[in-house]
């Protein structure tokens, strides 16, 4: 399937899903589905750097928060509408990714992971002390009273927006994966020195994939302040974003765009169900248990398991 066809299909599916689900009377569905979609974007974005290129980013929450706080900033400064926040947040997070990439991508393996984690801590402290966006107190972002397309509540709108953004993220991830660049990234993941000696401009590709990955993470966060109309640093920088955006691709499979999608839908849904039926404190515990299970039983995730099964069958 060519990129154009896939983009068209993804857009059509997202629009159809958005339209059909509007009929669901239970409002909680939208709250829960919003969170799952948020994780779809985060996991897909993380996988561009983590899965395709092999660089583990522990700072997902930082880029998510950059997106969220860019929305807050533009809201405070200009009462800017959501669309402005989305575009600006994506760009700012992408620029931050470019910076992170430029400064740290000469570090290999665990050192890059630590640097990305450090960035999250630094940004957290920065936001806590930045009064204009609410500092430690947090900030209110009021949902507009008029909601387009005749939707009953604002959560319906940001759920639909999140759905479209998830489709966009998947289209980008798939396009990168199938391109010449995707092959170059895979070569970097397998052996960076051999990749460089095969003509792959490793530094440039790594910086680009970091930038795209971080921009998409930021995009996921731009709608977040509107979600609860309130945002404060410890929820925007929550550990759960960093952990989930790694765990979901790992469980779904890191080699293709489908893995993070499957992992995020599966893990995200389980978490939402458990949160309501059992207890909200169990969330991360479940992620931990599932991670241990998958790392030992299916180290290449669900997609890796499916591929191996297909190969066996094909023989």
């Amino acid at each position: 399937m060519s990129n154009k066809v896939f983009a068209f299909v993804a857009l059509a599916v997202a629009l159809a899903l958005a339209a059909v689900t509007q009929l669901i009377p239970n409002e909680y569905f939208f709250t829960a589905a919003y969170t799952v979609l948020l994780f779809v974007i985060l996991a897909t974005a993380w996988n561009i750097l983590g899965g395709y290129t092999g660089y583990v980013n522990f700072g997902s929450a930082a880029f998510f928060a950059i997106g969220a706080y860019t929305t807050v900033f533009f809201y405070n400064a200009f009462k800017a509408p959501l669309a402005v926040g989305i575009v600006a947040g994506t760009l700012v997070a992408g620029l931050a990714g470019l910076g992170l990439g430029y400064l740290t991508l000469r570090l290999r393996g665990v050192f890059f992971a630590i640097a990305s984690l450090a960035l999250a801590v630094v940004l957290y402290v920065f936001v806590v002390n930045w009064d204009y966006v609410g500092g430690a107190r947090g900030a209110y972002v009021l949902q507009p009273r008029e909601i387009p397309f005749g939707m009953p509540r604002y959560i319906h709108l940001i759920y639909s927006v999140q759905l479209l953004m998830a489709a966009f993220a998947l289209v980008v991830a798939r396009a990168i994966e199938k391109s010449t660049m995707g092959r170059g990234l895979a070569a970097i993941r397998d052996d960076e020195l051999a990749a460089e000696c095969s003509g792959v401009p490793t530094l440039r590709l790594k910086i680009f994939s970091t930038m795209v990955s971080c921009a998409l993470m930021g995009m996921a966060g731009t709608t977040f302040p509107y979600y609860l109309s309130y945002i404060e640093p410890s929820s925007a920088f929550s550990l759960s974003y960093a952990v989930n955006s790694i765990a979901m691709p790992l469980i779904g499979g890191m080699m293709s765009w489908m893995g993070p999608l499957i992992g995020a839908v599966l893990l995200g849904t389980v978490q939402q169900v458990v949160q309501v039926t059992v207890s909200s404190a169990w969330n991360l515990l479940i992620v931990g248990v599932l991670l241990v299970l998958f790392v030992t039983l299916a180290p290449n995730g669900i997609m890796g398991w499916v591929d191996a099964w297909r190969r066996r069958k094909g023989r």
Binding site: T180, R183, G184, A186, A187, R189, D190, D191, L193, A194, A195, E196, C197, S198, G199, V200, P201, T202, L203, M255
Partner: protein, 244 residues
């Protein structure tokens, strides 16, 4: 008549902390020439290769390829100019098939100067695999190859970059006599295509058979360079290898 050098290494020095791995090495390769580079373990052969290929930076001296100073070029730019190397310890792209391994240099290096149409990449990869005798393994995962096949893949991947100069870094260590002959035939084939080859090798039979000229490195200095028979008879070379 003076033949223009393809690769010209002049006074290259490389230090690791207080240790001088290469000490003012001069080295020259003409277009299409077959050069053997020998020396005891730790004499700096691989360091020299790394400096030429761009995976290490030399502190002093100059390296020119086709007359252009390439010391400031990153490794990926050097291979795009036509300077390819194979690794002593095979470094396959383990998550890819053997065929896809060759597509990486074909897409990223060969395409820059060969003007390969995108549709011909796979065709060309298959052709090279047939040449090295790996066609039957084209769709196998490269991580699961045997050591011998991995070495062949290593050479094939360097060949896929369509180089003007190929540096083969101990491609034959640990191979059987017939496998050595296979790889020798392969490297001779490259000569027919006008590709210059630097062969770094401990298998003396192969080096003697292959090389038009042999250079000897000992403790980071070049102690001999010339006709293979003369070099092997050189007293200093014998001393370096066998002691006094």
């Amino acid at each position: 008549m003076m033949i223009e050098a393809l690769l010209e290494v002049k006074g290259v020095t490389k230090r690791f902390g207080g240790f001088t791995a290469l000490d003012g090495v001069d080295f020259l390769v003409r277009p299409g020439e077959r050069v053997g580079l020998i020396g005891p373990n730790g004499s700096g052969k691989s360091t020299l290769v790394n400096c030429i290929a761009g995976t290490l930076r030399n502190e002093e001296g100059s390296i020119r390829f086709e007359g252009e100073d390439i010391c400031g070029h990153a490794a990926h730019r050097r291979i795009r100019m036509g300077l390819a190397r194979s690794f002593q310890i095979p470094k396959p792209f383990a998550s890819m098939t053997v065929l896809d391994n060759l597509c990486v240099p074909l897409l990223y290096a060969a395409r820059k100067h060969e003007k390969l149409a995108p549709g011909r990449i796979v065709e060309e990869a298959v052709r090279i695999l047939e040449l090295v005798g790996l066609a039957g393994r084209a769709h196998a995962m490269s991580g699961g190859l045997t050591q011998v096949d991995m070495r062949k893949l290593e050479l094939a991947r360097a060949m896929a970059a369509k180089p003007k100069l190929l540096i083969s870094d101990e491609a034959m260590a640990g191979l059987s006599a017939s496998e050595v002959d296979d790889i020798l035939a392969l490297l001779f084939g490259l000569k027919e295509q006008g590709v210059a080859v630097i062969m770094i090798e401990h298998v003396m039979r192969a080096v003697m058979k292959f090389s038009e000229r042999i250079a000897v490195l000992v403790a980071g200095r070049k102690i001999a360079d010339g006709d293979p028979q003369a070099v092997v008879g050189n007293a200093e070379v014998v001393k370096a290898y066998l002691g006094e």
